[in-house]
């Protein structure tokens, strides 16, 4: 079983704060992590390899600093990692990103299963996984919370939907995106950590892929961000004073004046 796991390096957004004076993100001290959902994708890849044998290759697209995240994947026990890094990839939206990743998967060749996290916590789009599947012309299933069965010909999974779940079977090759409930992520092993220190992460540029340059990076991206703002604040807050009883009374009075009901 040849498995490719796609990961993204993201800022740990739970740490992100807004500077209200300048309306910008405060970045100092925000560390970069592997997108949490993607760590579950790696774990699932490793579990399938343990069961069926084969290889787990982790790929990521991004600037050179993503090497750190790929080394972390090596420490968890994956076989190979590849970084897709090129200025030509910059500015890619989900369409261009999924195209580029799909082309890299084609270059790796003979891939049976692609696993992605449900979505990245910085963009929250959840679009790259299904997009890769479309570019590879394989079936996909999103929001997988349980792997029921996998053999050399097909895969059966549970997909979370509103108010329950669906059990779906797909022919391989296929792509799945996973949620956190799918497994518990292992800790890196000593052997893995040692290997991650030594490994020289291969970097593929646009020239290493058989790609259409009009479909990558900013030029290959139909969508563009035109403005960024911070969510609006209501500055008209009326803060009541006094003890609990007085405050409750003032609140009820105010609501009464507003004729809420």
């Amino acid at each position: 079983m040849n498995i490719v796991v796609c990961i993204k390096q993201v800022p740990d957004t739970t740490d992100v704060k807004i500077d209200r004076n300048t309306n910008t993100l405060i970045r100092s001290g925000v560390k970069s992590i592997i997108n949490p959902y993607d760590t579950h994708a790696i774990e699932l890849g490793l579990q399938i390899r343990e069961k069926l044998g084969g290889k787990v290759v982790v790929i990521s697209m991004g600037p050179p600093q993503v090497i750190d995240s790929l080394k972390e994947a090596v420490s968890m026990g994956v076989d190979d990692v590849i970084l897709l890094s090129d200025r030509a990839f910059a500015g890619a939206d989900t369409l261009a990103t999924s195209y580029t990743l799909a082309e890299a998967i084609k270059s790796i060749g003979n891939v049976d299963l692609v696993i992605c996290g449900k979505q990245a916590i910085d963009g929250d789009t959840a679009q790259v996984g299904p997009g890769i599947a479309e570019h590879l012309n394989t079936p996909h299933t999103t929001y997988v919370n349980e792997l029921c069965n996998i053999n050399s010909a097909n895969i059966t999974v549970k997909r979370m939907i509103e108010g329950g779940y669906e059990k779906v079977e797909m022919d391989l090759p296929a792509l799945i995106t996973v949620v956190k409930e799918v497994n518990e992520v292992r800790f890196p092993s000593i052997r893995g950590i040692l290997r991650s220190r030594e490994i020289d992460v291969p970097i593929w540029t646009s020239k290493d892929l058989n790609i259409d340059f009009t479909k990558i990076g900013l030029d290959g991206s139909p969508t563009q961000v035109v403005s960024v703002s911070t969510p609006q604040i209501n500055t008209q807050t009326e803060i009541f004073t006094g003890n609990a009883k007085e405050q409750v009374h003032k609140l009820l009075e105010a609501l009464n004046e507003q004729k809420i009901f």
Binding site: T141, E166, V225, V226, V248
Partner: protein
């Protein structure tokens, strides 16, 4: 594609502060763009002397004028139309008026003609009906092919889908096949009337920033929209929409995905998305037992109970009560936030409530910045007091009159 800083840079460093990715540095008084630039354009906007340029080449020869009208994908399961579809119709009506184009609904399913009739009773021009037993259960491959063929045949300018499990699986698949843009999980939509394009606004970075996204040179412009954010319209007194039956032949389509079963899990009776009053608790509540106080207040008010992620993660209340970025989006008439500090991830899920009442002992808690009314103090004292007053006065206004 390229970004460059021209010689007119005055070294004011405004762009450095604005860059969300730390990708600009100063070198001998001029801005230098680093490798990790994602070409987001935030710096271009802030530069006072217009010295940052991003050049994008357009390699698309489609005729944009051929694409007209706004479509809503009418998601259904078992013949039940998802609530978000009505919200999309409500928003679609506004957009179609601004563009002066038709609003159409696309319904794909099996034995759903009666639902097409129902959808035609809203302020829509057309309901495209694709009724075939092969559409009975949602299947990514079949639905993608059906939507793609519909797009190629009718050339809509805008397609809106719910940001549901279905919409967020179908949307990216369709947009990749027709090679157009898709914006995920939008919370605001508008039209740039001059350019006649869709302005799609969505939270990013865990809700810390709002980004407005356009798809200027590709069609259709596709967006998934977060459920619970847009307003549903009322039905018209007469049937307006014309039902157009589309004969869709599924042949030569090798299906590689098979549904084995659908399992429904029992949900709470009270749906917080539909409640007019929500009493929500956070870390400050203290324990699962103390949550019963909130439940009582909600009961007295005829509302539902919500929670912040901190409360859910602590195991005080189940996940389907969670409000926020990773939970539900609600917009009740009154939202009472008890012991919730107001992390941005929570705020994005409730900030569109009509009235927000915050009860928190920390007067500096960010929640107060978003609230209509603030009560600073111990919620364990305030909430029982509020329950008592409400019980005596029976309703909010009456209890208040009793004070006078």
């Amino acid at each position: 594609m390229s970004i460059r800083v021209t010689d007119s840079c005055i070294g004011c460093e405004l762009c450095i502060n604005k860059c969300p990715f730390d990708a600009i540095k100063m070198e001998s008084g001029k801005a230098i763009i680093l490798e990790n630039c994602t070409l987001c354009g935030a710096c271009v906007e802030v530069c006072p002397v217009n010295s940052i340029e991003i050049n994008k080449s357009i390699n698309n020869d489609i005729n944009l004028d051929e694409y007209k009208n706004i479509w809503v994908f009418a998601e259904q399961r078992d013949g039940e139309i998802n609530q978000v579809v009505y919200e999309l119709i409500g928003e679609g009506i506004k957009l179609s008026q601004k563009l002066n184009e038709e609003l159409c609904v696309v319904l794909i399913g099996s034995d759903v003609k009666h639902k097409a009739e129902e959808l035609a009773q809203y302020d829509v021009e057309k309901v495209y009906l694709l009724d075939n037993e092969k559409f009975k259960n949602y299947n990514d491959e079949i639905y993608t092919t059906a939507m793609t063929e519909m797009i190629e045949k009718h050339k809509p300018s805008i397609i809106l889908l719910g940001a549901t499990a279905m919409g967020r699986s179908l949307g990216p698949r369709v947009s990749a096949r027709v090679e157009t843009g898709l914006t995920a999980d939008c919370t605001e939509l508008d039209i740039d009337v001059e350019k006649r394009i869709l302005l799609q606004t969505r939270p990013a970075f865990g809700g810390n920033i709002m980004a407005t996204i356009v798809c200027e040179n590709h069609r259709p412009q596709m967006a998934t929209v977060r459920p619970g954010v847009m307003q549903s319209p009322s039905k018209l007194s007469h049937r307006k929409g014309k039902i157009i039956i589309e004969d869709f032949v599924i042949n030569n389509l090798e299906i590689k995905t098979r549904l084995i079963e659908i399992v429904k899990e029992i949900e709470d009776k009270v749906k917080i998305e539909e409640a007019e009053i929500i009493v929500s608790g956070g870390r400050g509540v203290g324990s699962g037992e103390e949550f019963s106080m909130l439940k009582e207040l909600a009961h007295v008010l005829g509302g539902a109970v919500g929670a912040s992620r901190a409360a859910v993660d602590s195991g005080w209340i189940s996940y389907n009560h969670q409000v926020g970025q990773t939970g539900k989006t609600v917009s009740p008439k009154i939202y009472i936030a008890c012991g919730i500090s107001g992390a941005i991830q929570h705020l994005v899920g409730m900030k569109s409530s009509d009235i927000i009442i915050a009860i928190n002992k920390d007067s500096n808690a960010p929640i107060f910045n978003y609230s209509t009314y603030g009560l600073v103090g111990d919620l364990h004292e305030i909430i029982p007091m509020l329950i008592k007053e409400l019980k005596q006065g029976k309703s909010f206004p009456e209890a208040a009159t009793a004070v006078d």
